[in-house]
């Protein structure tokens, strides 16, 4: 695959949204690793106050966050916040306040503005992934999109009712801010008719299912050791699924404006 993609093109900048705990960070880090394996220059920007997006790309280690450094009042340079992880992937964590204190949303706004000011790494990449927190609870959480940084949004869900409900809400939010959706990803939880339900959901909102990631213990095992599947178990079947998803994301953009389903229709779909 082309390793000079960036010579003609601006980087592909994506965000993966979905209900908290559904596997956004796992998916993001495995997609990042798969793309890096293909020779792309990749960056991942974790926007969750928990700052756990890049942990499996860094052998289980945590890196200093932008907001920690801003808080301490030091002058920040690129080297202070951009760290190299698996296969050259550039890792950044926004960080944030303790749960229940201050304003995490404002934190994201401030941190991504700071990053833009001190670093040009993003412009030199082929793929930049913003790993955003579960629900878009306030303005700050859509800042990467609103500030014109993100060009493509994906939504991750399982076939369970609540994650689908959250995904549907996110779609409503995206159309509210005039942002198209580039695809739905299913991170399976082994519930009945899962593939069918998520596929149908994707179609009815006007998008499409671009990957079905089966539930495999190996993902969890790798994470427990502090690694992505791509690094620790590259020959596994699920590694192949991530590779396919990575290809789908890097291939031509199929973004469309989506229309969220009515609550009643969503419930029917999952029955």
């Amino acid at each position: 695959m082309s390793d000079n993609l960036n010579e003609q093109n601006k980087p592909k900048v994506i965000a993966i949204y979905g209900k908290g705990g559904i596997g956004k960070s796992s998916t993001a880090s495995n997609v990042a690793a798969a793309c890096a394996d293909e020779g792309y220059k990749v960056m991942i920007i974790g926007c969750d106050p928990k700052s756990d997006s890049s942990i499996t790309l860094l052998g289980g280690k945590r890196i200093p966050t932008i907001l920690d450094l801003i808080r301490s009042g030091v002058d920040i340079t690129e080297d202070d916040v951009v760290f190299e992880g698996y296969n050259g992937i550039k890792c950044v964590e926004v960080g944030g306040p303790e749960p229940g204190i201050g304003c995490a949303g404002r934190g994201i706004i401030v941190a991504i503005q700071k990053l833009k000011k001190i670093s040009t790494v993003q412009d030199q990449c082929d793929l930049v992934i913003y790993d955003v927190p579960g629900d878009i609870v306030c303005g700050g959480f859509v800042a990467p999109i609103r500030k014109g940084l993100v060009s493509e949004a994906y939504v991750l869900t399982s076939g369970e009712y609540m994650p689908l409900y959250a995904a549907n809400n996110i779609c409503r939010g995206l159309s509210k801010i005039n942002t198209p959706l580039s695809g739905v990803i299913c991170n399976a939880r082994n519930v009945s008719r899962e593939d069918e339900i998520v596929r149908k959901f994707a179609e009815e909102i006007g998008s499409k299912l671009i990957a079905f990631i089966p539930k495999e213990q190996i993902v969890q095992d790798c994470e427990r050791d502090g690694f992505s599947v791509m690094e620790k178990a590259p020959d596994s079947e699920i590694a192949q699924v991530y590779r396919k998803l990575a290809c789908a994301i890097m291939s031509k953009d199929g973004s469309v404006m989506v229309k969220a389903l009515e609550d009643e229709r969503l419930r029917e779909l999952t029955r």
Partner: protein, 380 residues
């Protein structure tokens, strides 16, 4: 600034923490928009934000309106309100240039000014300023406004660079000897004007030679210039007009359009009153650096003068050049009295509420100290 070493990195120690409230970056943005000659400035935030200055700016001929975000706006956002207001002001005031200014609340909740401007799509340029009042230096509000004006092609790169350098110097001036020099400065009314007027008349009667230095910030010059006029009138009355040398920062070829206009108006008025400005020390926005120009001129030509009457931003005139003189300074900042006294100024006078009186005018406005001088001189 103190630097501390830690983990091989150079870190900047925190600056002093000032505990008195001080000029707001939001207000600074509003004043800058005025200097850029916007017709309407929209505050995107709660109805009470920047109330007092918004009123003053209306005196100065621009419309200041607010989206009046309430608790609902804080919770649900105010995008629609901003779009509606942009549409409304376009109709009501037929503006040629609009400014939209953020506030603390709209910035915290992540409002996008640009989205609303795109949606309302007025057919005139809009300067969007994402600003809140949480900056250490209020000059940040000016800078953010100028950056946005540069982006929309309202000002040139050269003017932007010039303004930026001036702002940095202005911040330094305040930190060295101004209202940002101490963690708390009690406001003071300074010395009694009657006594200081008597002193100046006394000096003139003794045949002492004096310098007037007007180093004013923008429109405040309309009133500070009156003190230059009054001193010259008294000198003339006493037959010692040649003992006075005048300096003023009234170069009308420098600065944003409105600032140049003020310089021109003040210059014309001074001329009409027969006041000769021997040395023009810069533009009306050059108060952070014009003091140095004055200092140099004194070193070269007026080192042996006996007294100086310095108005506007007196703390920007370097003490080295004037330490041998008796210094009378006039400020409009009640928190500026103590720092000026500490610098070695013998008399410090405050023109209370000067700024409101210099908005919306085109001519020199009588100052309290000027009036006092004239009144006291009647008895001579």
């Amino acid at each position: 600034m103190d630097k501390i070493k830690d983990d091989g990195q150079t870190k900047t120690k925190k600056e002093i923490s000032i505990i008195h409230p001080r000029p707001s970056s939001i207000v600074a943005a509003l004043y800058t928009l005025r200097d850029l000659n916007v017709d309407v400035a929209i505050l995107h935030g709660p109805p009470g934000c920047s109330f007092k200055h918004a009123r003053l700016l209306e005196e100065d001929g621009i419309h200041v309106v607010t989206t009046s975000l309430d608790e609902n706006g804080f919770v649900f956002g105010g995008h629609d309100e901003l779009v509606a207001l942009l549409e409304k002001v376009s109709e009501m005031f037929d503006p040629k240039l609009i400014g939209v200014v953020g506030t603390c609340v709209s910035m915290i909740i992540g409002e996008e000014l640009h989205d609303a401007v795109l949606e309302a799509n007025p057919d005139v340029p809009v300067i969007e300023v994402e600003v809140h009042a949480g900056y250490r230096n209020n000059t940040k509000g000016v800078l953010l406004t100028l950056e946005s004006a540069l982006d929309s092609g309202i000002i040139s790169e050269n003017e932007f660079d010039r303004q930026k350098a001036l702002l940095e110097e202005a911040t330094m001036v305040e930190k060295r000897h101004g209202a940002a020099s101490k963690e708390y400065l009690a406001p003071s009314r300074g010395d009694v004007k009657y006594k200081v007027a008597q002193r100046i008349i006394g000096l003139l009667k003794e045949g002492k030679r004096g310098i007037t230095i007007m180093n004013a910030k923008k429109e405040t010059g309309y009133m500070f210039a009156d003190i230059t006029v009054a001193v010259n009138e008294i000198a003339k009355q006493l037959g010692v007009e040649t003992n006075i040398v005048n300096m003023a920062n009234i170069d009308d070829t420098l600065g944003l359009p409105r600032v140049r206009h003020h310089a021109k108006c003040i210059k014309d008025d001074l001329e009409a009153r027969g006041i000769v400005i021997h040395d023009n020390i810069g533009g009306l926005d050059e108060y952070p650096i014009a003091g140095n120009v004055a200092g140099k001129l004194i070193d070269e030509k007026y080192g042996d003068y006996d007294f100086a009457v310095i108005t506007g931003v007196p703390h920007a005139v370097p003490m080295d050049s004037i330490s041998g003189m008796e210094i009378i300074s006039v400020t409009n900042g009640p928190r500026q009295v103590l720092p000026l006294k500490e610098m070695g100024h013998k008399y410090v006078i405050v023109e209370i509420d000067l700024h409101p009186k210099t908005l919306g005018v085109n001519h020199i406005v009588e100052s309290e100290f000027g009036a006092t001088l004239r009144e006291v001189a009647k008895d001579e």
